[in-house]
Amino acid sequence: MIVNDTNIKVDSVSFTYNNGSIFQKQALQDISFEINNKDILGICGNTGSGKSTLIRLLNRLIKPDSGFVKINDVDLSEIKDPMEIRRKVGIIFQYPDNQLFESSVKKELVYGPLNFGFKKREALSQARDSLNRTGLDYHKYKNRNPFSLSGGEKRKVAIASILSSRPEVIIFDEPTAGLDSNSRDNLIELIFSLKKEGRMIIIISHDSRFIDKVCDKLLVLSKSKQVYFGDREEFFSRFDKSTIDDVGIELPFEYKVLRADREKNSIKKIKEFINKKHV
């Protein structure tokens, strides 16, 4: 259980890959937002809009060219040891295949905690709790070879291998891609229980229905620029429709109905207004 508040502040951050070479590519331009652990943040945008780059900054896998990232008011670029940041901020990357390498699920789960200096006993008990939380039975799976698992099981092991380090901030990169609706519901439950413990949750996703269910705040990126930051509900119900289409977000059904109704109503009101004048 985390008692204190966690907050992240990103201020006018820009980042360019391969700066100064001909393969130079600007991935983020002037991004600013602020979030705390009372709200779940969703990040949306087309592929290539800079979402993954942004979360790499939060883990100090890369450093911003300008602007700063602060966690609990401490500037990440001023922290000497990046391990300190990575222990606090866990990222669950999109493809479990890019991280699984140990010969057993158990070893895979304690890899992070041991790197971060947890004692072996602590690491093991955290590994057990984490795997059980994802819905896989630890005692059944601990000696299995990660490579022999199904896609869904691999993903759960990957999630547990991050949770086992007990990070304060947990970032999911496209967690729903390729999940059936049952596992999706389980994931949503897991996310809410993590939030209840006081952990900050950030989710990258294309899936607007998932975002609508889970997130409170929304950051929308398009072509490396920030298009929107604010309330999720506000975005879906009021934000300019053509821009939403441009960034490749499909409005959830309820909001389509809501918008259509509002339009009808306003047309009705205008008609009434005109009629009144003529009477």
């Binding site: 990357f93 493809y95 295949d97 991280q99 390498f101 380090s165």
Partner: protein
Amino acid sequence: MFDGIVLGQYIPGESFLHRLNPITKIVFCLFFMIVFLFIEDIFQLLTLFAFVIICFFISSLPLLHVLKGLKTIIFFLLITFVMHLFFSKEGVVLFEYSFIVITSKGLYNAILIFLRIFSIIMLNSILTLTTMPTDIAWAIEKLLYPLRLFRFPVEDFALMLSLSLRFIPVLFEELNKIIDSQRSRGAMFDSPSFVKKIMAFPPILIPLFVNSFQRAEEIAIAMETRCYSGSKRTHLNIIRPGLIDVLFFITFVSVALISFYLF
């Protein structure tokens, strides 16, 4: 971590060398590589080196970028240069200070070796940087055609080659992602300790290999379901030699001949 690698990276452009037929470029490269290996005269070498430099500028490739990408190779070349300089004891002594002795023969050999290898590397860089990997594979396939007489599976070989070339960038991208995943789980790849460096290999290499084997299997299945058979493969883009290829051929043969006559 692996940013700035130039080797095998095509840089799009509109230059004369970009438009040249890949077969011409490969033959030219091979020919000059052999010539460079056999030349023993420094003036002949300098002429050809100048020609390589001219080619480089015609290609409008960014010099600094290419040199940056070659910096490791250049570093080893410089070591070779220094070794030759200090360890040759023949010829007239040019410079002497305690145990350091530089002789005329040593200097001559050092320059010769340096120019020779550097030219070959530059030639190859020009080839790979101005030619799309798929075009290189295509050209190699054409050049190997005669081997079919000896039942060498040229088409399969060419497909293997183009698939490998095609997946080099994918592999690097994946490598970056794997390194990120492990670093965010607390792996330290930049630790100065030797033991820690060795320990860092399995977390990177195992996912990389597993993914590559998986991909290879998927490609094999995809090819089989679409009835791949080596000998009946057709090409989407057919490249024909043009006037510029003929001109280029004439130029480089004459340059080679002239340099041999002159010296």
